[in-house]
Symmetry: C2
């Protein structure tokens, strides 16, 4: 048998006939034996992407909630069929926490056996084997206790979970750490911009609000869907202004943001529901930027929406990676009791 | 009967139960009577979005090509069902050419009856009625001769077709005029960047190459799928370098761009085939920008692909609108015989 040489992208684990990257692959090779630049993780917990979990909930909805057992079976089926956890409908995955089990001699990741880590690359491209049938999970939460193993490539990213924080808290922060990193960068390109964050009371939303303030926003506006979330976000002090609006109603969203004083220079979309593109565009001033972090974003709805509205806005695909993103997000959380409180109440 | 007041976004023509913008709507009101800020166009020709037309071709593929009659019927069905031409699969539409038939007293568009115009907003949000059954179209080309009417809103955009160019040529240029406008803007943010354009011999691709050169690129690289297109693009002189690579093969694309000297600082994706996200990201240097103009782009593939590759690249959703975009694209075409030649051979 000839074994393919490894590629830092993980190409050598792709089983598809076409040459595609692991993220685009139908099926990955989950063999336990490592290539020299790989690392194997003993999995403790999966953290499913919110858009993916919501889709599974919707699909298996019942009269009194959803069928957790059916969700559990479907996740098991996806992982065994594809060799990775990638929701075929949403295309999204999530991340995982575990302990380093073996490090290939050529791995560039700087990890050592026994390190407690979170993977910061998506589950959609991570070879994964579940060995316990997810028996400790009831299918009712994005947090999935699991036993099994996963493989990291040369170009993957994993962060050691800090000692001073609850691991579940660190995981929740790292899961969304691309959002504050990119928000900081974009906000810093403007002079004292107005920053609106749709879904401001959520995980990526509250960190993005904190990042916007840190990066010099003139004022920050958190947009939330309910009175309950309004109170939560107001009490946290993370946003300068908080407004309730349905982000799927473009006119309501535009009017709600305008009523705070001005349209936003930077709008950050952090809610995992479809159909927020038009509202985000209309809520943004000319020459402003919309950053889409929601995996429920439709590329064509954004592109054609802006064109159709003759909106001169820049639209960014939220890249989950930026150098130093995990450290920055943890720093924001440690420095801001309001952000920390919003996270802790979700654990 | 109460009639809703008009909104510049066209909201008053949306027939859905939920409040959505016309682009996101299932169905539009195509009544002929205008609201005061609207304009009605007598349609001459539709220009279907390439991704949409390809999808229809694939769906109705036959042993010796595709069933043009079935494609024609499906387009008629979409337009009569939805009140607009929006491919339910790709979400995309196209544009149209026609003559101004009536101008509402409050229209801000500056058009007058008899103006020969192209609409620069997508067909996906333009109320449209086809009155000739598309009888002059064989379903085998994106260019669709048609008789009927369409409605423009207060915030729509239409450009008068210039006298000095073949109308079909102007239409082809205006159809993709967002691409060179955004490319110019992004290229100008870098100092002498390397710019790679995937699909460089196509319409948006060749204009993007010309815009990159105009905006100060150090060198431009056109990427094409075949030897035939390589020769075409080389002969046109529009790109400094031309390479053949399959954009769906991420490793091949990365290696092809690297072989020209360096990875690209700005990569522009102008090919309407799915699966080019990973290659575009890998072909782009750290701190570079990828501009996605293809309607075949998958938001999650781009977002998760960059994260999964730990790629510190900025990714832009190609906005089809920028102020002055049509005039700039026409100016590039007039000034560059190579670009003009590439367009004229497609007419």
């Amino acid at each position: 048998m000839t074994v393919r040489a490894s590629d830092p992208t993980g190409l050598h684990r792709v089983l598809d006939d076409r040459v595609v990257l692991p993220q685009a692959a139908e099926r990955l090779d989950t063999r336990k034996q490592l290539w020299p630049d790989e690392v194997r993780i003993r999995v403790e917990r999966l953290n499913l992407d919110a858009a993916s979990f919501r889709q599974l909930e919707r699909k298996h909805r019942t009269d009194d909630g959803h069928d957790g057992e059916a969700v559990r079976r479907e996740v098991l089926d996806i992982v065994s069929t594809r060799g990775k956890m990638q929701n075929p409908e949403t295309g999204s995955g999530g991340m995982l926490v575990g302990t380093v089990e073996e490090v290939g001699p050529d791995s560039p990741l700087g990890l050592k056996v026994g390190d407690h880590v979170a993977t910061l690359v998506s589950l959609t491209l991570t070879p994964l084997v579940i060995e316990d049938g997810l028996e400790r999970w009831d299918g009712r939460s994005e947090q999935v206790p699991a036993d099994g193993y996963a493989v990291l490539f040369g170009r993957s990213i994993a962060a050691v979970i800090p000692d001073d924080l609850d691991p579940a808290l660190s995981l929740a922060v790292m899961d969304v750490c691309g959002a504050p990193a990119l928000t900081r960068r974009v906000v810093a390109e403007y002079v004292q911009p107005v920053v609106a964050v749709i879904g401001g009371a959520g995980k990526s939303g509250s960190l993005s609000l904190a990042a916007a303030r840190d990066a010099g926003a003139q004022r920050t506006v958190g947009i939330v869907p309910t009175e309950e979330e309004r109170k939560l976000l107001e009490d946290s002090g993370v946003a300068d202004q908080v407004v309730v609006a349905d982000a799927r109603d473009p006119i309501a969203l535009r009017d709600a943001v305008a009523a705070t004083g001005d349209l936003a220079d930077v709008t950050v979309v952090c809610v995992d529901v479809p159909g927020c593109e038009g509202g985000a565009i209309l809520a943004t001033a000319d020459s402003g930027t919309v950053i889409f972090f929601s995996m429920a974003t439709s590329f064509s709805a954004a592109a054609l929406g802006a064109e159709g509205l003759a909106a001169d806005v820049r639209m960014l695909v939220g890249n989950g990676y930026a150098p130093g993103h995990a450290a920055y997000a943890l720093e924001l959380l440690r420095a801001d009791a309001g952000v920390r409180g919003l996270f802790e109440r979700r654990l």
